[in-house]
Amino acid sequence: MKFIISTLLTALLGFVSGLYLPWWGIALAALIPSAVIHQGHGRSFLSGFLGIFILWGALSWWIDSKNNSILSQKIAQILPLGGSVFFLVLLTAFIGALVAGLAGLAGSYLRRAPEPNQAI
């Protein structure tokens, strides 16, 4: 349950940050939930990763379908992804997810960091 909430919160914050902050706002969007919601490091990484993977994947897919893939087909040749729109959406989602996953991990460390005496 915590995992799902954390994931969805990351996606939501990610979307809001996109309206006001530069693209790297997704890092904050993943860091905050995992710093607030207690779950293991692995789960924190995964919820950040998945949250933004879903957000960026869904947004780009949605934009692309409204655009009849006019632009994505061209960009997928320039990048070069062999003109595959699917891979372009996947790459988009993955790049965002990677940043967010790491930020989520950092968030979970941040949560524990103020207790240095716990360290063994």
Binding site: S60, L71, K74, I75, V99
Partner: protein
């Protein structure tokens, strides 16, 4: 331990963000900042316009004087309604920026020699070439004059404010996708940028010359042969102003300097310099027929300027309506006004005058510091201009350029365009360096109500010289070969000139009233297609330049024979693929191919040529056979002479060769100088044909023998990025056809205007209104253009706001 891990994870995250936030170069290819670029809310995805995007809106700008509206129709053509002219140009600037910002700025970067700022050191030579030609210097000088004229100043100020209003209010996500790919930001627009854009057009249209190549040819072959290879005038010429026109005595008398024979005509140069050149194919057609030749009784004006085919297109279509004027047509993103179009009273258009207005002088400097040069018997001080060239990824370069009385020293010991200049210094004298307010010409035409207004307007056009065509609802038609052209003595400026005194300088300008022109001629039409403006035998001034005769010939022939002309007939004439050059050249080819020497395969190709219908339609194989055979013949005839030395030379024109072999089968250059025997025309044609067949067989096995596939017309994005380009377009025509569509070059804006009481106009250009490769409007006109179809041009009235063609409404208020 946790803390250390925190630090490590934070560092990795931050590092990844930094990596994804900057541009990388891998194997010479640059990769945009991937995080920024891929972000669906910031990056390129935001340029993927929804198919049902709403372009309407209400905007408030304090710079406006009054309210204004823009109606965007179903082709995304804006119809601007303003209460005053300042607001109209503000709105035009805003719309140009909104639809074409990246292109506008990129063109100006190219004009100003700033491409290295965007793509790094591979563009340094390109940039230095522009700086050394004095592009920025020329624009600054013109701007001074433009800003002294209150009409032009207001127009430019308002336009600039409009462009900047768009830039200032643009969100990061709205940045055109090319900025995101190349990772840079737009600058503010300025009036200087408009002036630079106009110089960009001058370079393209009035930057051509062959001075170095001609000097080499004169040195290698001597003046007598030079005049055979590069003759003045053509037998087949039908000039813009017909032969037999009587010209008054010239107002400016020019005399070659006393030293011309020794220092100019007989001087031996060997110049290894081949400057970067505008496309020699730049050309255009225009004509106007009077009411007595049309079905409706109203004049019809047609124009199709041929320039490089690019996306986004050079042209942007719009209507501008104010209480003072109501103009419709093609505009230049980068400059205010309507350029080729019509208003409620008349229509206007241009073809390039093709005149040579760029010369080189050899300068003698005292020493390598270039501080002093020898002029009129004394050492004169040079001026220096320091050009700061920014280069992406490294420090800026400062290029020091000496200025003489002639102009900037374009080539010196530090810049040779990558070629050997043997340590010589060459200053360039270019007409575009002189101040002129050419922009005012468009303003005048947009407002013109009659011939007098048109005549007054075109007086402002100095460079690039254009054949300005005109037709009016009162029945007048006219053409002026207009511009400010140097009055030259014969061959002045065809070769490099001595720059040690004033005797080789231009001795004056041709008075504009003496430019060739025709008003309401008896034959009922006026036309131009880049041919000689007048018969060189009788026109009192030397016409330097390069003037292809064939399109003009077939246009005049067709117009002469036509009556009851309709707009449909004019559309078919503009898109005509008949090859008049082949009509004249094929008989001499067929007559001289020695059939007894042909293999069966060669005979088949000969038959293809013989049975060809002389049309460059996409499916014609004969057109490909003809084109390759002619090219092969040019190489066979001229190749031996032109490769005699390693000096850069230019091929003589096709009309020179054709006219020579039509009248003289023992033309001196037919002989191959590398063989002991004397070759005849028959030898050359047969050998050329056999060589052509080798290429033809390869072409055929690649499945590209049909003309459309062989020619392979494409419209490239300004960055040459293929995915942003339109490739392999099935369109006919080509060199010497009225439909002069070549591989990357052709009619950019086709327009037909019938000046009936309610104007009937048609037009199309190979592009789309949006400059955004992610918009359905990016290339929405291309297929229509390819198929030779036109759109009706809708002159909207303010009362038509509820017409079903109106798709969006934008309001502008204070």
């Amino acid at each position: 331990m946790q803390f250390t891990r925190l630090l490590i994870v934070c560092a990795i995250t931050l590092g990844l963000i930094l990596v994804l936030n900057r541009e990388w170069t891998v194997g010479g290819k640059s990769i945009p900042p991937m995080g920024k670029f891929l972000s669906p809310q910031h990056g390129f995805w935001q340029n993927a316009d929804p198919m049902d995007k709403n372009y309407g809106g209400d905007f408030l700008f304090s710079q406006l004087k009054d309210k204004g509206e823009v109606y965007l129709d179903d082709r995304m053509v804006p119809h601007v309604f303003a209460q005053n002219e300042d607001d109209a140009y503000f709105m035009q600037g805003y719309l140009h920026a909104r639809f074409r910002l990246w292109q506008m700025e990129f063109q100006v970067y190219a004009a100003a020699g700033r491409i290295s700022e965007l793509i790094g050191d591979k563009a340094i030579n390109f940039d230095r070439d522009k700086r050394r030609l004095g592009m920025v210097y020329a624009a600054e000088r013109s701007l001074e004059l433009m800003e002294r004229d209150s009409i032009t100043k207001n127009e430019c100020d308002s336009y600039t404010a409009g462009v900047n209003a768009y830039i200032e209010n643009m969100k990061e996500s709205e940045l055109p996708v090319e900025y995101k790919l190349l990772n840079y930001q737009p600058e503010k627009w300025t009036n200087l940028k408009t002036a630079l854009f106009l110089k960009y057009m001058s370079l393209d249209l009035a930057g051509g010359e062959n001075d170095f190549e001609y000097s080499n040819a004169k040195t290698l072959f001597g003046m007598k042969d030079f005049e055979k290879m590069y003759p003045y005038g053509q037998d087949s010429l039908d000039p813009i102003v017909p032969r037999g026109t009587v010209f008054e005595n010239p107002g400016v008398i020019t005399r070659p300097p006393a030293s011309a024979d020794s220092l100019y005509f007989n001087r031996k140069d060997s110049l290894h310099l081949a400057p970067v050149k505008p496309d020699k194919d730049n050309g255009s057609n225009n004509w106007a027929v009077s009411g007595k030749k049309t079905k409706s009784g109203a004049p019809i004006l047609c124009n199709d300027p041929h320039l490089g085919l690019n996306l986004p297109s050079l042209w942007f279509e719009m209507q501008i309506s104010t209480p003072q004027f109501n103009a419709y047509g093609a505009t230049f993103p980068g400059a205010p006004g309507v350029v080729i179009g019509f208003n409620d009273s008349c229509a206007f258009g241009f073809t390039n005058a093709e005149r040579d207005v760029r010369d080189y002088y050899e300068i003698k400097f005292r020493d390598e510091s270039m501080k002093e040069y020898w002029f009129n018997g004394e050492w004169r001080l040079s001026n220096f201009r320091y050009e700061h060239i920014g280069v992406k990824g490294r420090n800026e370069i400062i290029d020091t350029i000496a200025y003489t009385v002639f102009g900037p020293v374009m080539y010196d010991k530090k810049f040779t365009g990558g070629r050997s200049t043997q340590g010589n210094y060459y200053a360039v004298r270019w007409k575009a360096h002189d101040t002129s307010n050419d922009l005012r010409c468009f303003n005048g035409l947009d407002h013109a109500r009659n011939y007098q207004d048109y005549y007054a307007a075109i007086q402002y056009l100095h460079t690039p010289g254009q054949n300005c065509i005109f037709a009016c609802k009162n029945g007048d038609i006219a053409i002026w070969d207009q511009g400010e052209f140097p009055a030259r003595w014969k061959h002045q400026g065809d070769f490099i000139m001595p720059g040690t005194d004033s005797s080789y300088m231009w001795q004056g300008m041709i008075p504009q009233a003496e430019n060739p022109h025709q008003v309401n001629p008896e034959r009922g039409f006026v036309s131009s297609a880049n041919q000689f403006p007048a018969d060189p035998a009788t026109y009192p001034y030397y016409l330097a330049g390069s003037f292809p005769p064939y399109r003009g010939l077939v246009i005049n022939r067709t117009l002469s024979s036509m009556k009851d002309i309709t707009t449909d007939m004019m559309k078919s004439l503009q898109t005509e693929n008949y090859n008049v050059f082949a009509e004249m050249a094929r008989p001499v080819l067929l007559k001289n191919i020695n059939d007894s020497l042909l293999t069966p395969v060669e005979s088949d190709y000969r038959d293809l040529l013989a049975h060809w219908n002389l049309r460059n339609d996409i499916g014609e194989k004969g057109a490909t056979v003809f084109s390759l055979t002619w090219d092969s013949l040019e190489r066979v005839v001229w190749g031996d002479e032109l490769t005699r030395s390693s000096l850069p030379l230019v091929y003589p024109t096709e009309s020179t060769l054709l006219e020579a072999i039509l009248k003289d089968s023992s033309f001196k250059f037919l002989d191959d100088i590398n063989t002991p025997q004397l070759e005849t025309l028959r030898d050359d044609v047969t050998s050329a044909f056999k060589k052509a067949v080798v290429t033809l067989q390869k072409t055929a096995s690649a499945g590209r023998l049909e003309w459309g596939k062989f020619k392979d017309t494409r419209i490239k994005h300004l960055t040459k990025l293929e995915p942003f380009s339109r490739l392999h377009l099935p369109i006919g025509g080509g060199n010497n056809c009225i439909n002069a569509t070549k591989a990357e070059h052709g009619p950019g804006w086709r327009m037909v205007v019938e000046l009936t009481p309610v104007t009937q106009a048609f037009g199309v250009y190979p592009g789309g209104q949006s400059g955004n490769p992610g918009s359905p409007y990016y290339d929405s006109f291309v297929d229509q253009w390819v198929s030779g179809q036109y759109y009706p041009l809708w002159v909207m009235n303010r009362e038509d706001a509820s017409d079903k063609r109106v798709k969006f409404r934008i309001t502008f208020s204070k």
